[in-house]
């Protein structure tokens, strides 16, 4: 059938002014599935959650677990039942969290395996799905930093480089991911490159959660994206996916505080013209600060635990990246401790003074 179709098409096109282009030639993608070098060290194998005591929420924090928010300063709102209520039933961010978990399994995040070049190629296909993680990395701005004169996505690469902190997605995160995927597919340092991808993606999710909490002022449904990017679509007592999985594995308290922060943002949006644009940005900022404080504590716990496993190929690259994520807030809270962290993470993995790092992290990012 196809040949007769082709003959007819050929007859027709003989009289036509131009012909169809060729299909792209598929590459032989049976890449080496063997050991590309490096060793798995399972950085999270002996993970023991931190027992946190003496944590003290801020006086302005929203606390739904405490008598349904009856003891805090917040008015009654939709989150008082300690449940996240979605704004809209459809949440695209859930797919991106699911994609992250697929990448985690494929590449052995945390050093659980030595991924092959084929694993990296398969992972890159997942990462670059249309509307997937890549589509958000390239546009991501870090709302912690002042806005640039125009949206980063409207800038040239040169202009973006002028605002590297704000244009964090295309300027900082994307190059890490591109280089790690390329090197991994080429069989270079698979464990290290998988670790870079892990760290870069956790950075992306952290920045994204904060961004969604910010943009929820204009679009309430962004609350759903915020919640999904941390929890993977789960409630407090369910096992989270993505970023939340990392935090819960290290501290129940820290995880609960993040959930409190997410519910605080949702509460604010419920109180602040839920069907239109928000007006009470002071309350937004209060909720966002509560959330960000909890998220930073969660990242600090990841770094803290990973430093304890050094030297480990599966932990070092991601730890360095996440330590960099903490630098902005660390410098604001205590420049001395921030400097100490910078010094340590400028060293090689086997030269890091883990005790010094842990001390600095505990001082900078205490539980709340």
């Amino acid at each position: 059938m196809y040949s007769s179709r082709s003959i007819l098409a050929a007859l027709l096109l003989a009289a036509a002014p131009a012909c169809e282009g060729d299909d792209p030639a598929a590459t032989d993608t049976h890449l080496d599935a063997g050991d590309g070098g490096g060793t798995a060290c399972e950085a999270d194998r002996a993970l023991v959650p931190v027992e946190e005591t003496g944590c003290a929420p801020a006086a302005t924090d929203y606390r739904p677990r405490d008598q349904g928010s009856a003891t805090d300063t917040w008015p009654a709102c939709i989150s008082d039942d300690d449940t996240y209520h979605v704004v809209e039933p459809s949440i695209g961010a859930l797919g991106r969290v699911a994609a992250f978990e697929e990448l985690a399994a494929r590449l052995g995040f945390g050093g659980t395996k030595v991924p092959s070049p084929q694993d990296f190629l398969d992972a890159r296909v997942i990462y670059t799905q249309p509307e997937g993680i890549e589509s958000r990395v390239v546009r991501r701005e870090d709302e912690h930093f002042p806005a640039a004169p125009m949206a980063c996505r409207d800038m040239t690469a040169t202009e973006q480089a002028t605002y590297p902190d704000r244009c964090v997605g295309p300027v900082k995160i994307l190059p890490i991911l591109n280089a790690a995927f390329q090197a991994g597919i080429d069989g270079v340092d698979p464990v290290g490159n998988a670790s870079k991808i892990e760290g870069a993606l956790l950075w992306f999710f952290y920045v994204s959660i904060f961004k969604e909490a910010t943009s929820a002022a204009a679009a309430a449904k962004d609350c759903d994206s915020m919640w999904a990017k941390y929890t993977g679509g789960t409630q407090r007592d369910e096992a989270p996916a993505g970023f939340g999985r990392y935090v819960l594995a290290r501290s129940r308290t820290a995880h609960d505080r993040v959930i409190d922060g997410l519910l605080a943002v949702r509460c604010w949006r419920d109180l602040d013209n839920p069907s239109g644009a928000a007006a009470n940005l002071a309350l937004r900022d209060q909720a966002r600060l509560q959330l960000d404080t909890a998220l930073l504590r969660g990242i600090a716990l990841v770094v803290r635990q990973r430093v304890q496993t050094l030297p480990c190929d599966g932990a070092w690259e991601s730890t360095k990246i996440l330590a960099g994520v903490l630098d902005r807030e660390a410098a604001a809270r205590d420049p001395g401790s921030a400097s100490a962290l910078r010094e340590e993470f400028a060293k090689s993995a086997d030269a890091v003074d883990a005790a010094r790092v842990i001390a600095a992290l505990d001082a900078l990012f205490p539980c709340s």
Binding site: L12, G95, V125, T128, R153, I185
Partner: protein, 765 residues
């Protein structure tokens, strides 16, 4: 001109044929009406109208040249029994439209949406895409991969090769089969000229140049019109075109927030739209030979090649970096057919028998250079068609009664090829995907047979009715790795119409009422496609059933020496309407990450309950004083249908049982005036306007092509001038959008051109 054969006595056999066919069609139309009413027999009051598009079939009298302006040009090919209009070659030369869809912007009941600068989709009475039928010289162009909502395929007709475009509004499935729910758009190609005084071979070269400032659009066409003898003629043409980025009048803002929508993206001048510009190559050849004094054969090839045409709302996609772009690298359509047409005797006074082949080819690329990734798709549809359309002579039926029968059959078969790849440009890796947008190897067939009698009394009252029995069948292999189920289904489809025309004052005033039952069988796009549409990701539903529409319309037609007035009101009631229903991530098909990742997800479903569009169209033309003519149109439609989304479990969430239908145009209209100070010159202008459209379907509110709160209204004014020296030279100029309005047709990705100039020169023998 051939003699008027309608006056010849056809004999008793023809009268018998009409009588038998009429009886059959009455019973058939009754059955069709009963289905619409849920099993009840239709009351006479409901089947109150008729309207058979008694299309005159091609005979030698239609062989006019591309610049000849005759009374025929303003005569609807559908006769006066239907709401219809016709864009003539002369109007094309004066309005200088950018494309075939653009040529319809001045027609009543037509609203042209554009998802790309190199794309355009005419809405008829609020419906488009799969629900309007596009034909070229009577050959069906709709394929089984035409999408819900607007598509780009009418753009693949080269307006430079068209003599006229006929628009028939309202259902027309009796004569045309599936898809003709909202109407039919037929492009009438240029014919090689017949010179009855020539006694030897004649060759007439002709060339045209056109330039538009808003998009630096430069096009030219060269054609050879040859006549070897009075029995053998040919017309061959080639064209080339390149359009740059389109400068608009500026951004169109949300009518509620004042915000500038994400679509389209602009260059830093705030006017020039990214994701615009394209190139074209066209070619056509038409050979006409007389096979008898009353019949002829036609062999024709039409090729359209469009390159590098971005889809504006995806170039860049909303919120994406400017370097991202979805582009149609190749949008090709090739059509070849042979036809025999003319007078075959009393039983086929008009006839057209045609064999056709069409290939629709698309190659698309979504380029994301920052991440060194490209997604590539190729989709091909090969369509083989056979049509027979015949019409008897008018036959006396006794007394003052006369009758005529139109009848025919058609069949089209599609073979679909569809592939997709992912390419990593930094590593030179190309990965084939398990399936393309459609299931590779799919096939689709549609066709049927029809009878459409017409009986008149004293030339004052005409009653028309008819019916079609059709069959559509779809088959596609499954793709287990993507969770795509195989398709193997067929549908028996019935269509019919009935109506009457009362010529209250002969040739001056007529009242028309029609009822039409048309249908659309689900096609391979509905049954197998997965695609990122404007409002979200859409995935297939292999269990769809045909949708059916009953259209009731009444019209008044007035004609005088210096005026024409047409007024139509209609109600279109769609049953089992195929519409997009929201789906959750859990309902996505397996192994389809793009579905999971999308902001919104949809699946096509047959809605329960009727979708209704009500509306009216007015058009008028007058010549109040010598050399001056004015024309105006006014169109309105309002539509609602059952909410395709299920009622949410949370009673606190808002839910409406019925919702507006998607992308229904707002109240809109046109006004034109023309002054011809000499027979060779014209001066004039036109105004297009539309009111704000804020009746939005749920999917519209997620469509980045529609500003938040709706599309604002607009007024765009063109001024025109020209000089025509018979066939030798035609100069035309249009000052478009002289008010530099920032405007957008509802649902479009592209804003209209800003203030600019279009100039055209055409010369030849």
């Amino acid at each position: 001109m051939p003699p008027d054969r309608d006056t010849e006595p056809p004999g008793p056999k023809l009268a018998l044929v009409i009588a038998v066919a009429g009886a059959w069609a009455v019973s058939f139309a009754t059955a069709a009406g009963a289905r619409a009413d849920g099993g009840e027999a239709p009351s006479p009051g409901r089947s109150r109208a008729a309207g058979s598009p008694a299309e005159p079939l091609p005979v030698r009298e239609r062989e006019v040249t591309e610049i000849e302006v005759t009374d025929r040009d303003r005569t609807s090919a559908s006769g006066d029994a239907r709401a219809s209009s016709r864009v003539t070659r002369a109007e094309l030369e004066e309005r200088l439209p950018r494309s075939a869809p653009d040529a319809l912007r001045w027609e009543p009941g037509v609203y042209v949406q554009q998802s790309g600068h190199g794309q355009g989709s005419p809405y008829l009475r609020g419906r488009t895409g799969q629900q309007t039928l596009v034909t070229f010289d009577g050959i069906r162009l709709n394929t089984s991969t035409w999408r819900q909502g607007p598509n780009q395929y009418f753009f693949t007709i080269d307006a430079q090769s068209v003599h006229a475009i006929e628009v028939t509004r309202g259902g027309a499935s009796t004569l045309h089969g599936s898809d003709a729910i909202a109407g039919v758009i037929d492009a009438d190609p240029l014919e090689p000229r017949l010179d009855l005084e020539a006694d030897g071979p004649r060759v007439r070269p002709r060339t045209s140049l056109r330039w538009a400032s808003a998009d630096s659009d430069f096009s030219h066409r060269f054609q050879l019109d040859t006549q070897w003898s009075q029995d053998v003629r040919a017309l061959v043409g080639v064209g080339r075109r390149h359009a740059g980025r389109l400068e608009s009048g500026g951004p169109v803002r949300s009518p509620t927030t004042g915000a500038i929508p994400q679509v389209p993206a602009f260059e830093r001048d705030g006017r020039t739209q990214l994701g615009t510009g394209f190139s074209e190559l066209t070619g056509d050849a038409r050979l006409v030979t007389a096979t008898s004094p009353r019949t002829r054969a036609v062999a024709a090839v039409y090729a359209y090649r469009e390159y590098d045409a971005p889809r504006t709302d995806q170039c860049p996609p909303p919120f994406a970096p400017r370097s991202e772009c979805l582009e149609y690298d190749e949008q090709f359509r090739s059509l070849a057919y042979v036809a025999h047409e003319g007078d075959l005797g009393a039983l086929a006074r008009e006839s057209k028998l045609a064999l056709s082949y069409q290939r629709q080819h698309e190659r698309r690329t979504l380029d994301r250079p920052l991440s060194f990734v490209r997604n590539l798709w190729r989709d091909d549809v090969d369509t083989f068609g056979v049509t027979a359309k015949l019409g008897t002579a008018h036959a006396p039926l006794g007394g003052r009664w006369r009758g005529r029968l139109t009848y025919g059959a058609d069949a089209y078969h599609d073979d679909v090829g569809s592939q997709a790849w992912t390419e990593f440009t930094d590593l030179g890796i190309v990965l084939p995907l398990s399936r393309g947008q459609y299931l590779d190897g799919g096939s689709y067939s549609t066709g049927g047979a029809y009878l459409a009698p017409e009986v008149s009394w004293n030339d004052r009252v005409v009653v028309r009715w008819g019916g079609r029995v059709g069959l559509a069948a779809a088959a596609a292999p499954g793709d287990p790795s993507s969770g795509s189920r195989p398709v193997d289904d067929a549908w028996l489809t019935l269509a019919g119409h009935a109506g009457a025309e009362w010529r209250v004052i002969a040739d001056h005033l007529a009242l028309v009422a029609t009822w039409d039952r048309s249908f659309r069988a689900p096609n391979l796009d509905d049954l197998t496609s997965r695609q990122q549409s404007g409002p979200g990701f859409q995935f297939e539903n292999p269990a769809l059933a045909p949708e059916r529409a009953d259209t009731f319309e009444v019209g008044v037609r007035g004609r005088g020496d210096a005026f024409e007035v047409d007024a139509w009101a209609f109600r279109s009631v769609m049953h089992d309407s195929i519409a997009r229903a929201f789906r959750s991530a859990a309902e996505c098909p397996p192994a389809t990450p793009q579905c999971l990742l999308s902001w919104s997800r949809f699946q096509l479903v047959n809605t329960r309950g009727a979708s209704i569009i009500d509306g009216f169209e007015l058009s008028a033309r007058a010549s109040p004083i010598a050399a001056v003519s004015v024309r105006g149109t006014l169109s309105y439609a309002i539509g609602s249908g059952p909410n395709p989304a299920a009622r949410p479990a949370d009673p606190a969430l808002a839910y409406a049982e019925r919702v507006p239908l998607s992308r229904i145009p707002p109240l809109n209209g046109t006004a034109e005036t023309r002054w011809a100070p000499t027979p060779a010159t014209w001066l004039g202008g036109g105004v297009r306007w539309a009111t704000r459209q804020d009746r939005l379907a749920p999917t519209d509110t997620r469509d980045p092509r529609i500003p938040e709160g709706g599309t604002p209204g607009f007024v765009a004014i063109d001024l025109r001038a020209g000089w025509r020296i018979r066939r030798a030279l035609i100069l035309g100029v249009v000052l478009e959008n002289v008010g530099d309005a920032a405007y957008r047709y509802h649902g479009s990705s592209v804003n209209g051109p800003g203030r600019g100039v279009i100039a055209s020169v055409e010369s030849g023998l």
